[in-house]
Each structure stands twice: as C-alpha cells, then as structure tokens.
C-alpha cells in the first residue's frame, strides 16, 4: 500500500503541474480557467497531504519499486524513514496552506485605499510550478539514493527559478530567473562534489552507506565532502549571504513567496543538514568555521531584519537568521532538533507571511486575528529559539553547562577562572551563546511589534524609508527620560547628549543598513556575474586579439617579410639574379673541390 501512497504523493502533483503548465503555455488562460486552476491546485496539494499522512501513519515500510537510470550509479530507491516523511508532510501541508492563503478572499479593491492594494497578483503558471516543485521536493525527501535526490533538487531548482520568468515582466523575469538558478546551482555543485566523492569511497550512492563511508575518508577528501554539503545546505536554506535568491520571492503571490521561495528549498536544505550532521563532527576545524560563519551571518541578518519596517521582506531575513541557528545546531551535533526546527518553522513562516499581508490591509476584517496570531507566533518562535539555544548550551562542546556553572561558580569568587575555562574548552564559547539568546529574542520580538500594531488598530506605518523600529521605541523612552531630567538638571550638556543618542543610533543604523544590505557579500554575489563577464571580455581582448592571435599574426608577418626579402633577392633585377647564379655556381664548384674532384 505504501507504494500507492508514494506514487500519489509524487505523481498527482507532477501530472497536475504539467497539465496546468501545458494548458497555460498553449492557450491563453481565461479568468474562469484560472479559478479552476486555483482550486485544482488546492485539491491536489490536499490529496498529496493526505498521501503523506497515510505514509506517516503506516510507519517505515519497504518501497516496492526502484529505478535504474545511469550506468554504474545503481538502482534509485525510496526510503520511508520517519524524519524524511515528517519533513515531506510539513512541506506538503505548507503547500496546501499557502494555496489556501491565496484563496482567502481579500476586501474588494474598491473599499481599499490605493496604496494598500499592493498584494501581488495570483498567477496560474506559478501555481503549476508550485505543484511541480512539490513533486520534486517530495522525491528528494523520500529518495534513498543520492542521484535521485540530486535530480529532484535540480528539478526543484529549475521550477523555482522559472517562477519569475513566467510571472514577471519581460525585462525583470529573465534576469531574476538567471540569478536564482545560478545561485541555486552553486549549492547543487557542492552537493555533486560531495556525493561523487562518497560514491567513490562507498561504491554506492545509497545515502545511508555512502554517508557512513565518510568516516573512512582521508582528511582532504572528507574536507571536500563537508565543504560541498555545507555549501549546498547554506545556499538552500538561504543563510547569509545566500538569502539574496529568496528575496526575489517578495514579488510573487503568497503561495509562491511563502512556499516556493521561503519554504521548500529551506526545508530541503534543513533535511540535508540533518542527514549530514554526523559528518560534521569528523572535521573539527571545518566545524568551528561553520559555527563562526553562521553566527556572523546571524548577527548581520538580524540587524537587517530589525531595520525592515515591513514584515514581508523581513521574512527572508528571519529565514536567514533561523538558518544560521540551524547550522550552529548541526555543528554542535544537535541532530534531532534540526528536523524539529523544520517542522516548527514551516507553519510559522506561513503565519508571518499571512500576517504581514493582512496587517497591511486596514480594511480587512481578519486584521485583529492576524495580529493576535502573529504575536502568538512571535512568542512561540522566541520560546522555541530560546529552547534551541539552551539545548546548544547543553552540548558536549560547551563543556560545562552555562547555568549550572554560573550557579556553582557563584557571582564573584571563582567566576572568572571558570568562565575562562569554558571559553577555552568550548567550541561555542559562552559569550556566543548569550549573543544567540539576544538574537533569538530580537527575531521573535520583531513579530510581537507587528502584532501590537494590528491589535491596537494603529495605522499602517509607511514602508520606506525604513528606520529602525527599535530606535523609535528607544527614542520615545529616552525622550521621556530626558524630559524627567530636564526638570531636574535644567537644559544643559546632559540633555544634549541624551537627546543626541537616538539620532546617533539612527544614523548608525542607517549607515549599517546601507553598508551591509547594499554592500559586502550580497553585493559581491549580485555583481559576480558582471565582474566575470567584464573579466572575460578583458581576457578575450588581451589573449585572443593581442596575445595569442597577435603573436601568431606577428610571426606570420615576420615569415612573410623574410620570404619577400628572399624573393626580392631572387626575382629582382637581372643583375641581382645573375649575382645569385654566380654565387650558386661558386658554391657548387667549392663543394665539388671539397668532395675531391
């Protein structure tokens, strides 16, 4: 029976997606067909969710079918392990919910102020691509073979990249498609390298044995495997600075944004991270690098997220921050919580996205509900993240549990030596754990703020420019303190300092915003293709026209010139010819004499 459910889970979305896409490409879809398409997609994702649920309830079973494709790659099998099924269930159900979100009627446009009707238009091709991506993603989750998983990931990547092409304007669409695919392909390249090295070591592409063989690899090969996998995960989950491909999703309808861009690839990445976590512990140096990089990225994206007034773009940074946390968990060896993170984050992302839509629409009757739910989500996220950080602190890599050691150490007496010992022995030092805790509170708090806006019926705040929301609170708070001090100290130096702080913070935030967001690695990634093209043009000019070709042309010219010179000497005027004849005759005579004539 599991074979039937599995086939349903993959084939129903696949065939429906192909049918919808084919219908869209070969006919101009009228509005009625678009509605049919919407509800068909909803039904298909619902069915797929039921199939996944049935598989989860059936428990782990052997899958009766397998596929042999490439020579020497072995048969591609499916694996119905619990974690893969849970990941597939979370992702499939999220697809259903995201489509449901698209189908919740919004207030009629005539009742809305013009600025607020900015919800991106629902488009049929993006729904078709969503179904195709779902089929590919479920194949990837349940594949027990690396080749099967790679193919599924590639197809999912192509489908995701095609969304801008089929839904946006003719100038932006191709550009963004190219960008998204190229970035996702970087991750797939890493995955390919890791997978091929493991295949070489294990002699099989079955995921379990291949990963187990990683332990027997030599240092450099193991390093390449880990680098390849981590790169793949890093890109897919959209950790900094690879969150840029997810930003493209902001321009699409809720389903494409919330699921195709914000859910499916990050979930695939998290599941891959879950599988490779044991490998990370094999290479301490790389493990420490992953921790440092992910933490640095988390701090940066959290700052950026705080600077975003609108929740919609902030969702990408939330993902990026959570991704950094996931990488930390993996590096610390907390494998189980990665799947929990996947399961918890999937509905929360959708909730935040839906909330951000509805809160922006003042006329919506759902506004208060959305505000309350978003706030609750924020609290849940804060609590969950705090739990993750606590779990992180419990790992063997923070040698002494943070709280226990603090209690044992007392407040003053031996604190410093103990803290020093912890810092020295820990892979993740305690200040980092504290920093993490601060970050997770900030991330969750971001949504509490939004909830407050909705629940208190405040007007929607202007979108741009986006000042630091926390700064406004600080501003108000400091203003009140300053007013109190004015009464006490009169107007003086202290007042100027205090009132100047908010402005300084704001300026700092703006500078940081412009420096980080439109600079650094994101900018490098965005401009790399152009830089490569410019470099290629320069190389082309220097090597093709002035270098190789120039040298060869010069040589050829030299040879021709020499030939012409010789030829002139031979075929010049008669006297010159006779001179040559005379010289040749002399040479012949000389040779004959030398030969003994």
């Amino acid at each position: 029976m599991s074979g039937v459910w599995l086939a349903g889970l993959i084939l129903i979305p696949l065939l429906s997606g192909v049918a919808l896409l084919g219908g869209r490409l070969f006919t101009h879809a009228p509005p009625r067909r678009r509605i049919v398409g919407r509800y068909t997609a909803l039904a298909v994702t619902g069915l797929a969710t039921v199939c996944t649920l049935a598989l989860v309830l059936n428990g782990e079973q052997e899958v009766p079918f397998q596929l042999t494709w490439l020579p020497n790659a072995g048969a591609m099998t499916f694996s119905l392990a619990k974690t893969g099924l849970h990941a597939a269930l979370a992702t499939t159900a999220a697809a259903f919910l995201s489509l449901l979100m698209c189908n919740i009627p919004s207030p009629s446009p005539s009742r809305l102020p013009s600025r607020e009707s900015s919800r991106p238009v629902y488009r049929l091709p993006s729904t078709a691509l969503l179904l195709l991506t779902l089929a590919a993603a479920n194949t990837a989750f349940l594949s027990g073979h690396f080749l099967g998983r790679y193919v599924a990931l590639e197809i999912a990547g192509v489908c995701i990249a095609l969304v801008p092409l089929l839904t946006l304007a003719r100038d932006a669409g191709p550009r963004l498609t190219k960008f998204v695919y190229l970035v996702l392909r970087v991750g797939d390249t890493g995955f390919l390298i890791a997978m091929l090295i493991l295949m070489n070591a294990a002699g099989t592409l079955d995921i379990g044995p291949a990963l187990e063989s990683g332990a027997a690899l030599s240092g450099s090969r193991l390093a390449w495997v880990i680098i390849g996998f981590v790169l793949a995960v890093w890109v897919k989950i959209g950790a900094w600075p690879f969150e840029s491909w997810q930003q493209v999703g902001e321009q699409f309808d809720a389903a494409s944004h919330g699921w195709t861009y914000a859910t499916v690839m990050p979930n695939l990445g998290l599941y891959l991270l879950y599988r490779i976590t044991p490998l990370l512990s094999q290479h301490p140096a790389l493990r420490a690098s992953v921790v440092s990089l992910s933490l640095g990225g988390m701090v940066l994206v959290t700052v950026i997220a705080m600077l975003k007034r609108n929740l919609r773009p902030a969702l990408v940074y939330l993902n990026a921050a959570q991704s950094g946390l996931a990488l930390c968990l993996a590096a610390a060896g907390v494998q189980g919580l990665i799947v929990t993170l996947l399961v918890v984050m999937t509905p929360l992302r959708l909730l935040f996205l839906w909330g951000s839509h509805v809160i922006q629409e003042q006329a919506s009757r759902w506004r208060r509900v959305a505000g309350a739910l978003t706030g609750a989500g924020g609290v849940l996220l804060t609590g969950f993240n705090a739990y993750l950080v606590w779990q992180l602190a419990q790992t063997a890599y923070v040698k002494v549990s943070l709280t226990r050691s603090l209690v044992q150490a007392g407040i003053l007496r031996p604190t410093l030596p103990v803290l020093w010992e912890m810092t020295r022995s820990a892979l993740i030092p305690w200040p980092v754990v504290i920093l993490l805790a601060v970050i997770v509170v900030l991330i969750g708090g971001r949504y509490l703020k939004a909830a407050m806006v909705a629940l208190t019926n405040q007007a929607v705040l202007p979108q741009e420019p986006a000042p630091l929301p926390q700064t406004i609170a600080v501003d108000r708070m400091l203003g009140k303190i300053a007013a109190g001090m004015r009464a006490w100290l009169e107007v003086g130096f202290l007042e100027r300092v205090i009132t100047g702080i908010p402005e300084a913070v704001l300026n700092l935030a703006k500078s940081l915003h412009s420096w980080i967001e439109s600079g650094l690695l994101e900018r490098i990634i965005a401009h790399t293709p152009r830089a490569v093209t410019a470099g290629a043009a320069l190389l082309h000019r220097v090597v093709e026209h002035q270098g190789l070709e120039g040298t060869l042309r010069g040589t050829a010219k030299g040879v021709f010139k020499f030939n012409r010179w010789i030829q002139d000497r031979h075929t010049g005027r008669l006297r010159a010819n006779l001179q040559w004849v005379f010289v040749v005759l002399l040479l012949i005579v000389a040779m004959l004499i030398w030969q003994g004539w």
Partner: protein, 506 residues
C-alpha cells in the same frame, strides 16, 4: 559478398559515388542535387546501423584491398566498437546538416558542388574512423580538411569588419595542418617501428624506446588537440565556425571536433599501456580544465551569437579531454558519451542560431531579443539545448558530465576535479545569458522603431521558417531528451570500447 562487407562499402561508397555524380551533374538536373545528397547521407547512415548486429555477434566487419603492395600498405577498412559511436555520430550529423542546408542554402547552380563537397567532407570523417591503416587514416584525415576548407573558401559568409573568408580558410588550413603534421610524424615513427601501416600490428604491441614513446604520445595528443580546438590550440575555430555556412559549421562543430577525441582514443590510448600513459594524465586534465574555463569565459565575452556557440565548443572539448585524461573507466566512457551528446546539443544550438539569423538577419546579441513570441518552437528547442548543455538532469549532457566528474574524483587529484565541477558554473552563466538575451526580454527593435506604433499594440508575428531547418532542430531536441532519459543503449556501445584501451585494463 557478405551483407556486412556491402554495408561497410556503402558507408563510404554511397557518399563518394554521389559526390562524383554531383560534380558532373547536368544543369537541368541541378534541383535534384540536394535530394541525391540527402539520400546518399541517409544510405551511409543506414549502412552503419546495419553493421551493429554483426558487432553484437562478436564479428568485426572488415575489408582488405591491395593498395601499395611494395610498401606493405593496404586499403583496409574495419569497424569495431571504438569506431561505431564516432562513425554514427558523424553520419547522423551529416544527414541532418544536409537536410538543414535544404532550407538555409540557395539551390542555385553551385548547389551540386556544395552538396558534393559536404559529402566529401563526410567521406573524410567516416574514412578516418573506418580506416584500419595509418596511411589510409592520414589520407582521409587530410581529405576532411581539404573538403571543409574548400567549403569555407567558396561558400563562407563574412561580415564587414570580420576577416575575409580567404584569410579564415588559410588560417584554418595552416593550423589544422600543423596538427596533422604532428600526427604524421608519430605515424611515421610507428610505421618504422612496426614495418607495416596496419593497425592490427599496433594493437599487438609496439616496442619503442621510452624517450620515443614520450615523443610519440606528446605529438599525438598535441596534434589531435589542434583538431579538438583545445586552448591554446583553438585559434582556428572561432573564425572558421563563424565564417563557414551554417551546415558546414554544424558538421565542423558537431562531428569534426570529435575526430580529435577519436584520434586520442585510437592511437595513444589504444597502443600504449596505462603505465605509459600515466605521465600524461595530469597535463591532459589541466589542458582540459583550461579549455573548459577559457572557452566559457570567451563565450561570455563574445557578442556574435555564432562565435558564442563556437567558443562553447572549446569549453565542451575541455570536458572531453579532461575525462580522457583521468584514465579511469568512468572518465573515458563519459568522454566518449560526451562526444555524442555534444554533437547532438551543439548541432541543435547552431541550428537554432541559424534560424535566428535567418529571421532577424543579425548576429550581434545586442541587436536581437524577445524572439520567443515570434519563434515559439525554436525557443522550445533552444531551451532544451541550453538546459542540456548546462547539464540539467535528465537531459543528455548530464549523464556524460556525471561520468566525467565521477572519473575525475576517482583520481588522486581531487582539487582538479573540484575546479572542473565549479568551472561548469561558467557554462551555466553563458548558456543562460545567451538564451535569455535572444529569446526572452525585449526586442531591441521595439524600443527603437517608433514607426510601428506603441509596443503594446504590436501583436507578435510568427516568423515563417523553412520546415527543412526546423525539423532537424526538433529532432535533435527530442534526441537530447530521449538520450538523457534512456542512456543505457548508448552506454552499452561505449562500454564495449573500453576493453580495447590502455592495454586491456578493463
């Protein structure tokens, strides 16, 4: 006469006799020239397929005729598993290029000569693969060069600022002939060592001094690398591919380049053992990587759409050389598969470029755009070609690249393999840029031509394209999918060749 012997004779005989007939064709029969050429190419291809059952039975179809008995030189033809993939690729490409020429080339009074020379070019390539003697091999090798050079010289298209077709033909001749001379020197050394020109003597083993072995292998590899257009020996390729008429370009890129790969497999890798070839592994891999990356960078820098695809060949040949350089089962099998898949995809992309030039009359990528609405079928073919060349599964090139990369990672040089795999991202970059600029985005004419009224009012008019040009493109696009999804039969052919290489290592 046995059926196999007849088939083997037909492979070369049908196009050769038709060539002679075309050269003396009366003027009133000139319209049938293209049909004759197509028929001959189809017959030759069919004869190749007819030889497969004999190979499967374990037979090796061969013909031996006396040619120069005093020198011990014979006219020997033979087909084996190493020959088969290359011969069939060449035959299929010739047939499709001739059909494409029906639509792209004028059917004027020079047409019989054009088709005659195309067939002669094909005879050169088929003969190179079927020859079972060194002299015969070299004769067909040079025939291939002469015929293609004549086609470029007489029918080449030059743009105003570009080099003249005479200059291009001369450059093409000199460069590839230089490579041929290197091959010739090696062949003469082998002839002196064995006292016969027959390949069977070479297969039996050649005893040479170590220094001579190094010289012979080096000259073979360099000579065949010229034909493969490996960086920095590729200088002839961009101009020749650009100036040649499109059917000739298709044959040059999709079939003739692979003759270099065949040469490396047939000579150094068949004659010498793994131990003798080992010192050349890393240089071949490095040359392959350089070519892969350099070709892709040049493709990114080019503006002429024909030259972009031409540089793409330099890059793709880099993969093939890299695969062969790994000296592993997967690497060599992948390289041979890549020759076939590259032929499919490159012929497809050049056909697409030909159709774009046919419709727009432009070759500068900045002057074309938004053609998807005018040429939907061609766009679909181009999309398949582009996705295939960037190795998106389950299209064909993925299979061969997979094997090449797997072979690379079996060697101790993991870093080289990682560079190759990351280098493939450049292929993604130029292929997507190429496709999106030509078929998607805005047509530059829309923004500049104000006489046509507002852009939104202009309905896209479907371009009328000759069926002879579209049909081969569609067929190749379908093949790119079919070969990708069902690689096993082709791999089965290739797997048979491997025991013949590197002293029967596999």
């Amino acid at each position: 006469m046995a059926l196999e012997t007849l088939a083997l004779l037909l492979v070369l005989g049908a196009p050769l006799v038709t060539t002679l007939a075309l050269f003396v064709l009366p003027r009133r029969l000139q319209p049938v020239a293209r049909w004759l050429a197509g028929g001959a190419a189809a017959l030759s291809l069919a004869a190749m397929f007819a030889l497969i059952p004999a190979l499967r039975r374990g037979d090796v179809p061969a013909i031996a005729l006396n040619w120069m008995p005093a020198a011990g030189i014979q006219f020997d033809l033979r087909i084996d598993w190493l020959t088969l993939p290359f011969a069939i690729t060449e035959g299929a490409v010739t047939l499709l290029a001739i059909i494409y020429a029906w639509g792209s080339e004028a059917n004027d009074e020079r047409a019989p000569y054009f088709y005659g020379l195309l067939l002669l070019f094909a005879v050169g390539m088929a003969g190179t693969t079927l020859a079972d003697g060194m002299v015969l091999f070299y004769t067909f090798w040079e025939l291939m060069l002469l015929a293609s050079c004549a086609l470029i010289l007489v029918w080449g298209h030059t743009s105003g600022s570009g080099p003249s077709r005479r200059a291009v033909a001369l450059k093409y001749f000199i460069f590839t002939h230089l490579g041929s001379l290197m091959v010739l020197v090696s062949l003469v050394i082998l002839y002196n060592a064995t006292g016969t020109d027959r390949f069977s003597a070479l297969r039996a083993g050649v005893t040479l001094a170590p220094g001579i072995v190094t010289t012979v292998i080096t000259l073979f590899i360099l000579g065949f690398c010229v034909k493969m257009a490996i960086f920095p020996l590729h200088i002839w390729l961009p101009d020749a591919h650009t100036v040649a008429p499109m059917p000739v370009t298709i044959m040059l890129a999709a079939a003739m380049l692979s003759m270099g790969a065949y040469g490396i497999l047939r000579f150094p890798m068949s004659i010498f053992t793994m131990e003798q070839m080992q010192p050349f592994a890393v240089p071949m891999m490095i040359l392959g990587i350089l070519s892969e990356i350099y070709g892709a960078l040049m493709a990114l820098a080019e503006r002429d759409i024909k030259r972009i695809i031409a540089y793409s060949s330099v890059s793709q040949m880099g993969y093939i050389l890299y695969g062969m350089g790994t000296l592993t089962y997967n690497g060599i099998a992948g390289a041979t598969l890549h020759v076939i898949y590259h032929a499919i995809v490159k012929a497809l992309l050049f056909m697409v470029v030909g159709l774009v030039v046919y419709v727009t009359g432009k070759r500068n990528i900045d002057e074309v755009g938004g053609l998807a609405r005018r040429m939907p079928v061609v766009t679909a073919c181009a999309a398949i070609g582009i996705l295939a060349i960037i190795a998106v599964p389950p299209l064909c090139v993925f299979d061969s690249e997979w094997m090449i990369f797997a072979g690379g990672l079996e060697t101790p040089y993991v870093t080289l393999s990682v560079i190759t795999i990351f280098g493939s991202l450049l292929t993604v970059a130029y292929a997507l840029w190429f496709g999106s600029r030509i078929f998607l985005g805005k047509d530059p004419a829309e923004t500049t031509d104000t006489t046509l009224g507002p852009v939104s009012d202009r309905a896209p008019t479907r371009a009328k394209l000759p069926l002879a040009m579209v049909a081969p493109s569609v067929l190749l696009a379908a093949l790119a999918i079919i070969e990708g999804v069902f690689p096993a039969p082709l791999f089965d052919w290739v797997a048979h060749e491997l025991p013949m290489l590197l002293g029967g290592r596999w």
